[in-house]
Amino acid sequence: MDARINSRPTLQVRGLVKRFGGLTAVKNLSLDLHDGEILGLIGPNGSGKSTAMKSIMGIERPTAGEVTFEGENLAGLPAHKIARKGFGMVFQHSRPLNRQTVLENIMVALLPDSLFMLFPDKALTERAKWIAERVGLGPVVNRKPPTLPFADLRRLELAKAIARDPKVVLVDEPFAGLTLAEVGTFSELIRSFRDEGRAVLLVDHNVKSVAALVDRVLAMYLGEEIVTGRADEVMRNETVRRVYLGGALETHARPETSFKDAVPALEVKNLDVRYGKAQALENVSIHIHHGEFVSIVGLNGAGKTTLFNAISGFLPYSGDIVRDGEKLRGISPAKIARSGIVQCPESRELFGEMTVRENLDLGGQHLSEAERERQLTWLFELFPILKARQDQLAQTLSGGEQQMLAIGRALMMQPKILILDEPTLGLAPVILEQLSKALEKLRQTTSITVLLGEQNVTFALPHADRVYVLEHARIVWEGDPGRFAAEAGEGYL
């Protein structure tokens, strides 16, 4: 290992920068990759790790920096030239040729980049067979991709990437979608690439999943390197822990008796919802006071989204939903939303091809111009990142930024009751912290009543004044968040 470090690295990346418009996805990244080494490039969603990998491969053209391979700077070359220098990339998703067999698919990877190869070479077929055996596709070489299980399709990707015997292998999320047993087999395969002397670069979300496989880890956050080292060192690193694990759990509940309203802002009484034969909600009763922050905690499928959709008027139900003493039944979803019950759905539903600003303006359509400006200014204080991204298309935002935009758009409607459905879905812990701060600010500086549905307890509890636990269509616990861990926390923490 030490001898290897002293030798000249096969791949040397220096000062790599990739900008998309105003967004800098990769900032001044440098790394060394040696023969016979596996380096993990790790970072939460939106940290720029995939972009870094694509920039090395030439799929994205680096804005600046050097990618030196065996003494030659490849930065700026197109992908097909870089591939021919000795690079192979394993894609997470791909579209194999469905009318060709597995063997023919591997053959494609072996072909020269020439327009004059009209008849396949016998030697190529032999080589393709050997590669198929090598990655464990031997028994299925004559089958066509649509008939293969997922793991075999991933093997096909490995086969194509190593077909031309590359010196550098780039692997994008090697284990996505694989079962535990398959993860073992794939780890073995990737290790065997290293043992053959190839330099391997892996991209993945967290350190733990690749710790056993990699020699070194480079942790990235917001486009920059945080730390590089052995997996256990990186896991102990203070900054990495903060990025991944967030802060300690604290609660700031206001007791229910502090809310003096005689009639609650929203009251759900004996709610029943059925989808055909399935009971989605059974006898659910909750209430929320004016200005209160209530979290509904429940696992996937517990009925949170159903409850919110019933409140928003999307679903037929029995029982009553009462707002300020008035029943909501029979009022159209549009009217309910305009009256101030605004839902921010878990699927976000942004207008991807509109800019951030246009999305927000749509939310604030009903406001007068002056009022809209005021609301925007306030919103940009809450989510400064949205101000910086104003002119960017919504679909180009990272997951966390999209979530902030979804909440921002809901806030532009000046809700009296804001319903947030699983805002943390698919987001990296660090984004949660930013969202968390915004929610805390919302709670302390406005009178907006918030109803939050979550399965992530560490996110749902800190701001909540009261918590309901929804389990299999029923409310099974209600109380203040301080008592949650002791009384209902099992299975969530």
Binding site: H80, F91, L97, R99, V108, F116, M117, L118, P120
Partner: protein, 308 residues
């Protein structure tokens, strides 16, 4: 490749062509004339499928390539009286050059913009023909003094032979290593690039091959008609027919495209007694096939074979 000569597809094709070659012995000149046009259309559709089915690019302007080939050949013959064969060859070359000039910048733009560029090219060509009426015959059409032959039988055999040879070349190309790379580039350009293939080079090649066969077929067609007009070789509606034929026959099959073209033209003729409705009925059938059998005639047959 040796497998191919034993394959069912090869045997069936040979049989169909052999039967088709005997048709002049027992069908009327009217039917022969119809099929002659249909065979040239078959080549248009096959050339188009190479682009759409394999390179994954929708060329909305097949008639740009066809029209350039047809009008170049026609004008040279009309103006200078050069030999028919030279004119046909130069027509095909002109289509290749026009295709190259169009595709080189157009392939740099992504997605639907390529298609739009090709569509605009057709409109420009159409406009050119109308504006330079002295040269092109304008809206009345260009009279072409020479013909290859006046024999309906020989014209028929030329068209059949031309379609058979074009089909063999285009199909062979689609199944060759180059065809595989082309297909990979069409399906997943990012990955094909990462596998070391120059996507633009391959697609450009496909466009040029497509242009060559389109232009050649267009030139042959006008020497058969004895006239070239916007309505027969340039109009967008003609291009739409080529596209419908190819999709009807089956995407990514090449040979299916020829079947689709023959079906379209023959069916249109059969329905002639229904008057204006004919186009509507044929279009409606095409729409049904596209909606319910997106694989087309041959695509549906092939997938049934693959399943059994």
């Amino acid at each position: 490749m040796t497998d191919f000569f034993k394959s069912r597809l090869f045997l069936v094709s040979i049989l169909v062509i052999a039967i088709a070659a005997t048709l002049p012995l027992y069908v009327s000149g009217y039917v022969l004339g119809l099929l002659t046009v249909a065979y040239y259309f078959g080549v248009f559709a096959m050339a188009w499928d190479l682009l759409f089915g394999f390179a994954g690019e929708v060329n909305f302007g097949p008639t740009f390539l066809i029209g350039v080939g047809a009008y170049t050949a026609g004008i040279l013959n009309n103006q200078y009286g050069w030999s028919v064969y030279l004119c046909i060859f130069l027509g095909a070359m002109a289509a290749v050059i026009a295709g190259f000039v169009l595709a080189l910048p157009a392939l740099r733009v992504r997605g639907p913009y390529f298609g739009l560029t090709t569509l605009v090219a057709v409109l420009m060509l159409q406009n050119f023909v109308v504006v330079f009426a002295e040269l092109t015959g304008g809206e009345i059409g260009l009279t072409i003094p020479d013909v290859i032959t006046i024999s309906a039988n020989i014209n028929y055999w030329i068209a059949l032979g031309f379609m058979a040879i074009s089909g063999a070349i285009l199909y062979g190309l689609s199944q060759s290593p180059v065809g595989l790379v082309l297909q990979a580039s069409g399906q997943d350009p990012v990955q094909a690039g990462a596998l070391g293939f120059n996507i633009v080079k391959h697609k450009l090649f496909a466009f040029i091959v497509s242009a060559f066969f389109s232009g050649l077929s267009g030139a042959l067609l006008v020497f058969y008609f004895g006239t070239a007009s916007v309505g027969t070789v340039v109009d967008v509606a003609v291009g739409v027919n080529v596209i419908v034929a190819a999709v009807l026959g089956g995407r990514r099959t090449v040979l299916g495209a020829a079947l689709g073209a023959i079906f379209l033209i023959v069916a249109g003729e059969f329905l002639r007694p229904t008057g204006e409705l004919a186009t509507f009925i044929v279009s409606f059938v095409a729409l049904l096939v596209v909606l319910f059998f997106p694989g087309g005639f041959l695509g549906a047959a092939l997938s049934r074979e693959a399943r059994s």
